[in-house]
Symmetry: D2
């Protein structure tokens, strides 16, 4: 067990949602995982989020989730806070994962709505009240309606501010009106909460207008791009923001639309990391890695994008 890092309040900056390197559906790619963690931490990120949507958390068996928590916490060794996704349809499994994360030395847990039977807002409020009472670690709320079918409404957020242990909101709704409204409410009532945005295409505007940072999938690949964009936006350097936002959009355009389905983003990221030699691109069901044709497109895109970042996108160990 590692001692957990002190969590800054608010946590600010880029906290990449790490993809999970796999050899097959129940086996971690351990050397790939080690390379990936170092690659990401090398980008000066301010935290690491595992077992989220990008990390295929819900697609992984519990044994493997626990192994991943252990390995990542050990390797990170308190260099940055580790946040662990515990979203589940079963209350008891979420709590079990939270305890495992505590023992492993994680700094916080991240929780979205239970995602099978859609709960109404009052039900969700009771759920949050019940589960915050059981959690041994600080909690980030994770608004992800495209996957959970349920929104954390502003009224629910207002109620959640009176619950103990919550330290922030990660919003992946892609709805910036919601985001601005939530941000204003949180700043007024819980200024110590961290307000983070999920989709990287929205990082620039979120931080320019006051957010604390982003949980952006592309930071698996080139963490320094998002870290730089965060700093430029926090410094109100709009010219630089536009330049970096353009690179973020270019990367997304090139890598996230090769696949035909909703899974295209994670598939593109994993494939790119595999092409760069960082880790295996095996995906747990219901998805699977790109076949040769799509992989070739990712390869071509990576060659075309050597403009991204002043530094090489990944260190020598990955070449």
């Amino acid at each position: 067990m590692t001692e957990s890092t002190q969590l800054p309040k608010p946590l600010r900056g880029i906290i990449p949602p790490m993809i999970t390197p796999l050899c097959d559906r129940d086996t971690l790619d351990i050397p790939g995982l080690e390379r990936l963690v170092e690659h990401i931490l090398g980008g000066q990120v301010q935290g690491l989020f595992i077992l989220g949507t990008t990390g295929e958390g819900p697609s992984l068996g519990y044994r493997l989730r626990c192994e991943l928590i252990d390995r990542v916490c050990e390797q990170v060794a308190s260099r940055v806070p580790v946040l662990v996704g515990i979203t589940d349809t079963a209350f008891t499994e979420s709590v079990n994962l939270a305890h495992h994360a505590t023992d492993a030395g994680a700094s916080a847990v991240v929780l979205s709505a239970p995602y099978y039977s859609p709960a109404a807002q009052p039900e969700l409020m009771e759920y949050l009240a019940n589960i915050t009472a059981e959690l041994p670690l600080p909690l980030f709320l994770y608004n992800m309606p495209s996957h959970t079918k349920v929104n954390f409404s502003l009224e629910l957020l207002r109620g959640a501010m009176d619950l103990p242990g919550i330290v922030g909101l990660k919003d992946s709704s892609c709805n910036m009106i919601y985001f601005h409204r939530a941000l204003r409410m949180i700043r007024r009532h819980r200024p110590e909460w961290s307000v983070l945005v999920g989709p990287e295409e929205l990082l620039a505007e979120a931080v320019l207008l006051g957010a604390d940072g982003g949980v952006n999938g592309g930071a698996n690949l080139c963490p320094q791009l998002y870290v730089e964009l965060f700093h430029a936006a926090a410094a109100h350097d709009v010219d630089r923001v536009i330049q970096l936002h353009e690179q973020v959009m270019e990367l997304a355009e090139n890598l996230y639309h090769v696949g035909q389905h909703g899974s295209a983003v994670i598939k593109g990221l994993k494939c790119a990391l595999s092409c760069l030699g960082v880790c295996d691109d095996f995906m747990a069901e219901p998805f699977r890695r790109f076949r040769a044709l799509d992989r070739e497109k990712i390869q071509t895109a990576l060659r075309r994008m050597d403009f991204i970042g002043q530094k090489p996108m990944v260190g020598p160990e990955a070449r």
Copy 2:
């Protein structure tokens, strides 16, 4: 371990989706469970389906799910086939549950689409191909798009007909055009599949027009009503069907719309069973049992509905 019952092909009749009697979120109400199983089997049903949506399957921890499988299989003791819901976001956990169900003596498993990251149809087809290769028991496909966000398209069903081990379709889409189209396709290509309808309000028409039966929540409460309706519809006795369909609608109107949210159906069922003394009505998060006011409405409705069935709704032990 119990010897599993031979599964008729096709399985025809009423296979109630059993609610899960709980004392609290991780504890079965064991005496209630025993009464409930006997109560349901007393209605001459043709099978028992556990750990479905009505059974709050995805809201229960894995330890409890396994305990439930064991206890139900043991108590049923091959009087009827036991079907076990194994739908999960994690492939490995579905397979684990299926093996547990096999060891316990269940007759079949029931699987819907993984319900966190929505899979496209070709991805879902691969998922089915992969998982049918790993399953030790016959499989019912369970179409439940309101909860999984993903439909089993007709094209996917056509493809699934070439996979081994599938024995039927349970459709809870509430879309009778889909149902009729699926039924025609299955009758042509896989006449031995069982085609079952979920919502009890649709049982009459489904069976009149050729379906094999229903997986209807209300059969927890008064199984003989649905069994009679099934037989009347299978016998093309429209006058009797209309009479019983009217009772089914009356029961639904009275018990399933007391709550305000999507959870109203299961809450109403559990509350009614509790009022009748069959079992506890505790619900796992994200839901909770009705409070006093709603419980009183259910009580009143139950008194008003003593017309249902010629026999008492539940046996003497529940009064």
Copy 3:
């Protein structure tokens, strides 16, 4: 001006939603229209509904809509009631159309929710109260949420029962649970209302379980099939119902899924009528008639389906 037909209460049977024969986007195919009206009336239908969804009502200019109303009312000459769709986003245009329909001798109007800005249920209730006060003809409510984005909720229907002039409900929601619940409520409080189902795949079960009939697109093509199915279902002759329902499903399978988009049903119908020599298949924007390849598929399907009906599908004038 023609004297309007007395409207039976309730109106029972098949009331085909007539497609609108066009030569181009603002010109009726007048000989085709005359043949089509006779072809449909030849099938012993109980009414004729023009300017509905199948009739491309909202896609047609107002001048043309008025011309169509005039011509159809004149030709039908009170042989059956003519129902006129007046759904519009603008209250005043709906009322204008209703007055035109009255002057032309129509028997009733059909109204769905205004379909641009989605109204909430209390707003919709006020809308209905306001417009029923202005309408000179009996009104059928038309529930069509896929196109209007707004459902006529059961609570709204209950309120609408106290408004003057409403004589029925046409439900095209494809949701048979809603349908059964609405039917029960209407039978109890407004037994003189006519309850009709839109999708022809649902005609059999709707009438078997008590509905008054159908407004089914396929009745443009072979009205007698739907009329026979209606009579068989009303007579509780399940064996005959299954036989005819099978033909309805076969027709839908063959003709309504040739196109790739939501427009496939109307395109298939218009193309089939054109292949059979009844009328032109021009479609108003945003749609357009099938090109040669899809037309060939419709031709082939029509040849394959000569089993439908004992009588030739269309009379000698159309060959």
Copy 4:
């Protein structure tokens, strides 16, 4: 007939979507209309958009729409370009309105997807090709999927770039990822197009990251707030942008959430303009003005918000 203003390419700045002052459902509030136009133009806006969603365009009869076009064009008298909404379900009515707008001296028309029968993307592309060939004025595409059920996909936009007469895109999807992707594509291929954002809560970020301006409902009330925000964002003055964005959010929070339904935004705007003495707040069906209680809330909010803008919110003529 007025000579139309030359339309700048691209049109940049704030183009308020004017509400339509009404005395009743078919009568303009003419003095109110005159005050409103002057009030808005007094805010140094760069154009005026009538008959959009905020203008209740689709809820108004055609006679009234034409009267409004005439009166507004005459009063504006080429001080700024007038843009006229012509979105309709009937192709011919859209074209009729466009000709009327041309004759009245409007500068451009604005068109969304036909909004009754949802068209697929290839159908929508053909629709655009057909209608651009018939339009006598430059065209802005208006992406409004919440009301039309249909998105202008990026692929469709790419195709539309080869059609004649299109000069810009107004996006009200509330989806900033879509917005950034569309903006990049347009900048590359049609730099002369104007790219405008609808929701005012998104104006700051849209312009900071390169958009040409906004079509923001709140500019009916205090046009100078949005004009200032536009200029601050265009000048990359982030501190000032944050200050003004905060005022925009405050106004929205106070005025747009008094009503319970989707209509709350327009109702709030019209009510506020009525409270300030600018014009009547009658609304066409399916909506209706706020009743006394909600009006009182708007009054209170207006008193609380006297901080907005250095100048009085409306000039002396409105008091």
